[in-house]
Amino acid sequence: MSTPLILLIVFGIVLVLMYNSLVSKKNQVENIFSTIDTQLKKRYNLIPNLVASVSKYMEHEKSTLEELTKLRSDANKPNLSQKEKIALDKKVSQALGSIMISVENYPELKANENMMHLQRTLFELEEQIAAARRAYNQAVTDYNNALEMIPTNIMASLMGYTPKEWFEIDENERKNLDVKKLFDNI
C-alpha cells in the first residue's frame, strides 16, 4: 500500500471518530434534557395540589400563587424550546422557593399532614432535578468544549452545531436545605 493511501485512510478514520464523538456528545445533552423534562413535568403536576392546599391559609402570597398557576399552564404549551423550558424552570423554582419559605409563617399550615407530604415529595423531586441539572451542565460543558477546541471545532461548524445554554444553579440551591429545621415539629 502506498503512503498517501495509508494517510488518507488514517485521515478518514480520524474524521469518523471526530464526527461520532460530536454526535454522542450532542445526544448525551439531549438524553439528559429529556430526563429533566420528565422531572419538571412531575413537579408541574404537583402545583395544582400545592396551590389548593395553601391558598386557604396564604393571604399575602396570592400573587405568587397565581403566577405559579400561570407558569404551569405556560409549561404545558406544546413545542417549547429547551431555552424556554430552562427559563420557565428558573421562574418556577423561585416561586416555589418563596412559597416554601412563607409556609414557615403559618404554623397551622406547617403542621398539616397533606402539606407535609407535599413538602417531602417536592423536596425529593427538587433533589432529583438538581442532580439532573448538574448532569446536564456537565454534558453541555463537554459538548461546548468540543465545539471550541481544535480540531473538533472545524467539524462542528461544518455540522452546524451551536453552543448550548446551561442551567443556572442558584447559590441557595447549592446549600442543602436544613431538613431538621424544616420539619422540627414532626
Binding site: 439528559i32 425529593e124 432529583q128 442532580a131 451542565n137 442543602n176
Partner: protein
C-alpha cells in the same frame, strides 16, 4: 452518636483504668516471657543450623535461617499473646463500643459477613481468602451499621506453578444504609491517575479506563475531583447520590482519615473501605496500653467508623425511600 471523642478518651482512662492497669502488668510479664522464649529459640536454632551446615554459610542457608527465625518468632508471639489479646478485646474494646451505643454488638473473632463484601462490588480482583475480626454490628440512631477489619487475598500462581497469596485489600470495611433509594451502582475511588499524571492526562486515562466500573462521572466540585474519581452506570443518579453537601462531607471524612478511602453505593447501602493495611484493635505486647497515642488509635478508629451515620447524615430519612 452522642458520645464525643473526648468523652470516649475519658472513659478509656478513667473507668477502664483499673482493668488497664491489670492488663498492663500482664503485658510486662508477657513481654519478658516472649523475649526469653525467643532468645532460647534463637540459640537452639543457631546450634541446629551450625551442626547441620557445618559452618559453611551459603546464601540458601542464610535465607532458610531467616525464614526459620521469623517463623518461629511469630509463632511464639501469637501463641503466647492469644489469651492476652482476647482478654484485652473483651475488657477494653467491648466496653468502649458499649459506651458509644448500647445497641451495638461486638464479636471479636469474626469479620463482617462475606455477602456484604461481595455486594459492595468494590474489589476487582477475585477474592480467594477472606480474613478478619472485630465485627461490630447494630443500629445508630435507627440506621443499621456494621464494620470490621478485613483482609482480602487472592491466589497467584507463577510460571513454576508455585502459589502465593497477594493482598487485595486490608483495612476497615464499613456498611450502612443509605437514606435515598437508587438503582444504579456508583463508586468513589481515590484519584490516583490525576494526582500522578496531572489533570489533563489523568482524565484521559480515566475516560478510557476499560477496567472501570461504569462511566466516568465528572463532578462539579473541583476539590472533590482533585481527591476522588467517580464512576457510575447512571450519570444523573450519581449526582442524586453525591449532592454538593455529601461531596463536602466525604472530603472532610477523607481529611480526617489520612488513608485511601473508597466508597460504593449499591443496592440500598453505602460501603466504605479504608485501606490502612493493618489489623486494627490488636494490642501490641511491646507498647504500653496506657500510652496516649496507642489509646487514641483504638478510640479514634471506633469513633470514626461509628461516626459516619452522623457525619454523612445517613440518619436523615426525609426521602420517601421504598
Amino acid at each position: 452518636m452522642k458520645t464525643s471523642l473526648s468523652e470516649l478518651t475519658d472513659f478509656y482512662y478513667k473507668e477502664l483504668y483499673e482493668t488497664l492497669k491489670k492488663l498492663e502488668e500482664r503485658r510486662l510479664k508477657l513481654k519478658k516471657k516472649i523475649i526469653n522464649y525467643t532468645l532460647v529459640a534463637f540459640v537452639l536454632i543457631t546450634l541446629f543450623l551450625w551442626q547441620f551446615s557445618k559452618a559453611s554459610l551459603s546464601a540458601e542457608t542464610l535465607v532458610f535461617a531467616f525464614v526459620l527465625y521469623t517463623g518461629t518468632g511469630s509463632f511464639i508471639y501469637k501463641f503466647l499473646t492469644r489469651d492476652f489479646v482476647s482478654n484485652f478485646k473483651e475488657s477494653i474494646i467491648e466496653p468502649l463500643i458499649r459506651k458509644i451505643d448500647t445497641n451495638l454488638h461486638y464479636f471479636k473473632d469474626v469479620h463482617i459477613p462475606d455477602h456484604h463484601i461481595y455486594a459492595s462490588t468494590l474489589f476487582d480482583s477475585p477474592i480467594d481468602k477472606i480474613n478478619g475480626n472485630d465485627y461490630v454490628t447494630g443500629k445508630i440512631e435507627d440506621v443499621p451499621i456494621a464494620f470490621s477489619d478485613i483482609h482480602l487475598e487472592k491466589k497467584v500462581k507463577d510460571s513454576k506453578g508455585r502459589t502465593s497469596w497477594h493482598t487485595v485489600f486490608q483495612g476497615l470495611f464499613i456498611v450502612s444504609e443509605f437514606p435515598k433509594s437508587f438503582h444504579s451502582h456508583t463508586y468513589v475511588f481515590p484519584d490516583t491517575a490525576q494526582s500522578l499524571l496531572g489533570e489533563y492526562l489523568g482524565s484521559l486515562v480515566q475516560n478510557n479506563n476499560f477496567f472501570a466500573k461504569g462511566k466516568l462521572v465528572k463532578m462539579d466540585s473541583p476539590e472533590f475531583e482533585k481527591e476522588f474519581v467517580v464512576y457510575s452506570d447512571d450519570q444523573i443518579e450519581a449526582r442524586y447520590i453525591l449532592t454538593p453537601a455529601l461531596m463536602e462531607k466525604l472530603l472532610n471524612f477523607q481529611k480526617r482519615l489520612k488513608e485511601p478511602l473508597s466508597v460504593a453505593f449499591s443496592g440500598k447501602n453505602i460501603y466504605l473501605a479504608v485501606e490502612n493495611n493493618q489489623d486494627l484493635f490488636e494490642p501490641s505486647v511491646f507498647h504500653s496500653l496506657l500510652k496516649y497515642k496507642i489509646a487514641m488509635q483504638y478510640v479514634e478508629t471506633l469513633h470514626l467508623a461509628l461516626g459516619i451515620v452522623e457525619e454523612l447524615k445517613l440518619n436523615q430519612k426525609l426521602w420517601s425511600k421504598k
